[in-house]
Symmetry: C2
Subunit: 157 residues, 2 copies
C-alpha cells in the first residue's frame, strides 16, 4: 500500500502536549519542601517545564539542581497528572517524582535559585497543601499517598 503522508507531514500533524515536572522532598520529620516563587502568588514544589528532547526524569533532576542546588541521583515516579486545555495553553502532563527524605545535613545544602524563588520551607503536608497553587493542590495529595503506598498515581484534573 502507499502511505498517505510523508513522515515529516505526519510528524507535524500529530497533536502534542506540554510536559512538566514536580518533585516532592521531605525532611526527617516528614514535612514537605515547598518553595515560594517571586513571579506569582502561592507556593510550589521544585519542578518546571520539560525542554525539547528532555525526558521527565531529566527535567526533574535539572529543575531540582537549578532551583534548590541539590543533585539527587534517585528520583522515583509517584504520579502523572493530566490537565485539559486551558485558554491559550494546550493540555498538559505533569510528572511528579519523589526525591525521598533529605537528611538534616543535606537540607543545609539547599541553595535557592534567587532569580525565581524567594523562600523555601518544610511544612507538615496538611499545612503545605493549602499553600500550593491550585493545580498542585489537585495532584500533590494523591502523590503523597502514592509515596506512602509505593504506587504511582494517575490523576485527571
Amino acid at each position: 500500500m502507499t502511505k498517505k503522508y510523508t513522515d515529516a507531514e505526519y510528524a507535524a500533524m500529530l497533536p502534542k502536549k506540554q510536559v512538566g515536572t514536580a518533585v516532592l522532598f521531605f525532611n526527617t520529620k516528614g514535612e514537605l519542601l515547598i518553595v515560594k516563587p517571586n513571579y506569582k502568588d502561592g507556593w510550589l514544589v521544585p519542578g518546571g517545564s520539560a525542554d525539547a528532547d528532555e525526558s521527565p526524569l531529566q527535567c526533574a533532576a535539572r529543575e531540582t539542581q537549578e532551583e534548590i542546588g541539590l543533585d539527587i541521583p534517585t528520583l522515583q515516579l509517584v504520579g502523572v497528572c493530566y490537565g485539559h486545555k486551558k485558554g491559550v495553553f494546550t493540555d498538559s502532563l505533569k510528572f511528579v517524582f519523589c526525591g525521598g527524605i533529605l537528611s538534616d545535613e543535606t537540607s543545609t545544602k539547599i541553595r535557592l535559585q534567587t532569580e525565581e524563588l524567594e523562600e523555601y520551607r518544610f511544612a507538615p503536608v496538611e499545612e503545605a497543601i493549602p499553600l500550593l497553587s491550585s493545580s498542585l493542590q489537585k495532584c500533590v495529595p494523591q502523590c503523597v499517598d502514592a509515596v506512602k503506598n509505593n504506587t504511582v498515581a494517575y490523576i485527571e484534573q
Copy 2:
C-alpha cells in the same frame, strides 16, 4: 514585577511532546493480545496517538474501542516510556495501560478495525515480544513485569 511574556506568547514557546498509548490484554491462559497492522511490518498491541485535549486514559479507551471493538471501563496505568527525538519526530511519551484478562466470552466479541488491522491473536508473552515493533519491544517486557508486580514502569529509550 512585570511579566516578560503574555500568556499566549509563553504558551506558544513551551516545548511539547507527542503522546501515545498502548494497551495490554491477556486471555485466560496469560497470553498477550497482539494485532497486525496492514500499513507496516511487525505486530503491535492496541493503542495509538492521543488527540488534542485527550488524556492518555481517554486515548487508550478510544483506541481499544476503535481497534478491537471492546469497551473496557477499567484500564490500569502500568508504564510510561519516554522516547527521544527521532528524525522529523519530536520526543514522545507512550502510556502503557493494562486492560486485564479477557474472559473467553469477551474474547469472542473482539471486532477488528479492518481499515488498519488485518489480524489479531493471543500469543505467549515470550513469543509475542519478538514479533512487536522495535519501540514496543523496548517497553512491553518491563510493563508486563509491572502488571505482575502491581507497579508502574518508568522507561527511557
